[in-house]
């Protein structure tokens, strides 16, 4: 029976049967609740941010901008915004430079110990971030003592340096992919024509990997901006990022102000996502999607 049914279809002589469409309909009906599950948590915070109520209730009784006003009048929250942006910008610069240099150094011919170096660079992806957070705390405390009592734990630069380690693997993977598209003979011919290190970088490497650099920088920024755990271990009175402030407030002070913070985080990551799609997604296939392309991805920004 199955044979007689399937054979004409294979030959393409019979129009698609109704049963095929039913399968499709069943599939999309089953997909709908999964889609709701995936999307709802990303959108539900927005109406709460515009609530007129002083407590979190669903549905919001009416819409107003009062909560936003209160949020920006609150020193603790505005300081958290400043910390988050400042730290993410430092991470963006540091991680992009370090990750790119590593990718350039490790591209090309394999050499002894290359595998080990790559393993070390990618290591933060495979270690629970809570272990890194604790390690960063212990390390920065000791480094501070050794540097004449310099305060590193509980400061914005301290958090930025520690989070850069989390962002470097992303930069490294993106830049390695971008460099793979660069013809190594181009480098050699430029060198033979007398190009120095700087002009080699400016005229050979940079144009070839420009899109990769933009993507790396955006990734590094968002890794830091959304990262709660390392920032939690290294937090201080003047160095509390938005996710850490939210973590504390959700437990002890549940107000709609957290929804405003969520909306800001959401707006920033959406902007970066759209920027990635617009600038990078179309032009270069070499830039991988986060997670999908990273070999031993564990969640770096996370959980």
């Amino acid at each position: 029976m199955a044979i007689s049914e399937a054979a004409p279809e294979l030959a393409g002589t019979r129009p698609r049967t109704l049963s095929v469409n039913w399968t499709k309909i069943v599939m999309w009906v089953a997909l709908a609740p999964v889609f709701v599950y995936l999307v709802l948590p990303s959108l539900i915070v927005i109406p709460i941010a515009f609530t007129s109520s002083k407590v979190i209730e669903w549905p919001p009784p009416s819409l107003s901008l009062d909560t936003f006003g209160k949020f920006f009048a609150d020193d603790a929250w505005t300081s958290a915004i400043a910390s988050s942006f400042l730290i993410a910008l430092i991470v963006m610069v540091v991680a992009t430079i370090v990750g790119t240099l590593a990718a350039i150094g490790l591209s090309g011919k394999p050499f002894l110990g290359r595998g080990v170096l790559v393993g070390v660079i990618l290591m933060p992806l495979a270690i629970p971030v809570v272990v890194l957070g604790l390690g960063d705390f212990a390390f920065l405390a000791r480094a501070g003592r050794m540097l004449n009592g310099l305060q590193l734990v509980g400061t914005r630069p301290g958090i930025a340096v520690a989070q850069s380690v989390l962002a470097v693997p992303f930069v490294y993977v993106v830049m390695s992919a971008a460099l793979a598209g660069l013809n190594p003979q181009l480098v050699r011919s430029a060198q033979s024509l007398g190009a120095g290190t700087w002009s080699l970088f400016l005229h050979v490497y940079f144009p070839a990997v420009k899109m990769g650099l933009i993507a790396s920088a955006l990734f590094a920024f968002i890794v830091s901006f959304d990262e709660p755990v390392v920032a939690y271990f290294l937090q201080g009175p003047d160095a509390m990022t938005l996710p850490v402030k939210m973590y504390t407030d959700i437990q002890y002070n549940l107000t709609p102000l957290i929804a405003v913070s969520s909306t800001i985080l959401l707006a920033v990551s959406t902007t970066i996502f759209v920027a990635l799609m617009l600038f990078v997604g179309r032009r270069s296939k070499a830039v991988p999607l986060p997670g999908a392309a990273i070999p031993t991805t564990s969640s770096s920004s996370g959980n």
């Binding site: 629970p128 520690a162 985080l265 996370g302 959980n303």
Partner: protein, 252 residues
């Protein structure tokens, strides 16, 4: 900056040595927390592998714009910070939250259900976080499968069930294995979600490390625990790296 923090932990762990180990052994919650970590991670893994497989299968069957739509939905949680997600789940699941309000207005329930601050909420939140990580390894092994194998199996007289059982499933098994290991690894390291969505008895191993550090101010024991966790994770990561990833049936 990459390696030194770990060396620092190793040193502190050795410094604490046997004393720290005894502390962990005599702590009555150690057993509970290890059990929590394993049970919660296993449930999360099971749920996301099933959902991820379903999504990957749908994405594989759909073509063009429909496939892009499914992938876009799967990717969306990637772009939402973990605190935003956790806060969203508290809005959705709390006593006067979205789920209870909707169920009440539909007269399905009279009294609000307790959905927040329990294990159910932790698993819901963790599964939501992990789903993209379950989807991609499975989808990666499915892409190269020729859709005509379905018809080939049908034309040879296979029923839908036999097709799934004997053709699709074996061909995608390595993807399932990779996605199960990956999501288990990610789940076992969760820190934020058990605290925000769970009850105090749903704490996991990462929270215990934090507890020793910030509550008991015992860096040595926290370090020892962190080193033990890292060792266990390394085994899982090595296993994960041995699973064949994508396209080994590409020339089918």
């Amino acid at each position: 900056m990459l390696v030194w923090p770990l060396v620092e932990l190793l040193q502190a762990a050795i410094q604490g040595g046997g004393t720290s180990f005894d502390k962990l052994q005599n702590n009555p919650t150690t057993g509970l927390i290890v059990k929590n970590t394993l049970v919660i991670s296993a449930w999360t893994m099971l749920i996301v592998v099933v959902l991820g497989y379903f999504l990957a299968f749908c994405a594989w069957r759909a073509k063009g714009a429909q496939r892009a739509l499914i992938i876009a939905f799967v990717l969306l949680p990637f772009w939402t910070g973990v605190l935003v997600k956790n806060f969203a789940w508290t809005i959705i699941l709390q006593e006067h939250g979205v789920v209870n309000t909707v169920l009440k207005s539909l007269h399905i329930i009279d009294d609000p259900l307790t959905l927040l601050h329990n294990r159910f909420a932790v698993i819901v939140g963790m599964a939501h976080y992990c789903l993209p990580y379950a989807f991609f390894p499975i989808f990666a092994v499915m892409i190269p499968l020729d859709p005509r194998i379905e018809r080939a199996a049908e034309s040879l007289g296979a029923s839908r069930w036999r097709l799934a059982r004997h053709v699709i499933f074996p061909l995608t098994f390595s993807g399932i294995l990779a996605s199960a290991l990956l999501t288990f690894i990610i789940s076992a390291g969760f820190f934020i979600t058990p605290v925000i969505l769970g009850s105090p008895s749903d704490r996991m191993i990462a929270n215990m490390i934090d507890q020793y550090q910030s509550q008991f101010v015992d860096l040595n024991t926290a370090s020892l625990l962190a080193m033990l966790v890292t060792a266990a994770f390394s085994v899982l990561v090595l296993l994960y790296n041995r699973v064949p990833k994508e396209g080994q049936y590409g020339n089918l």
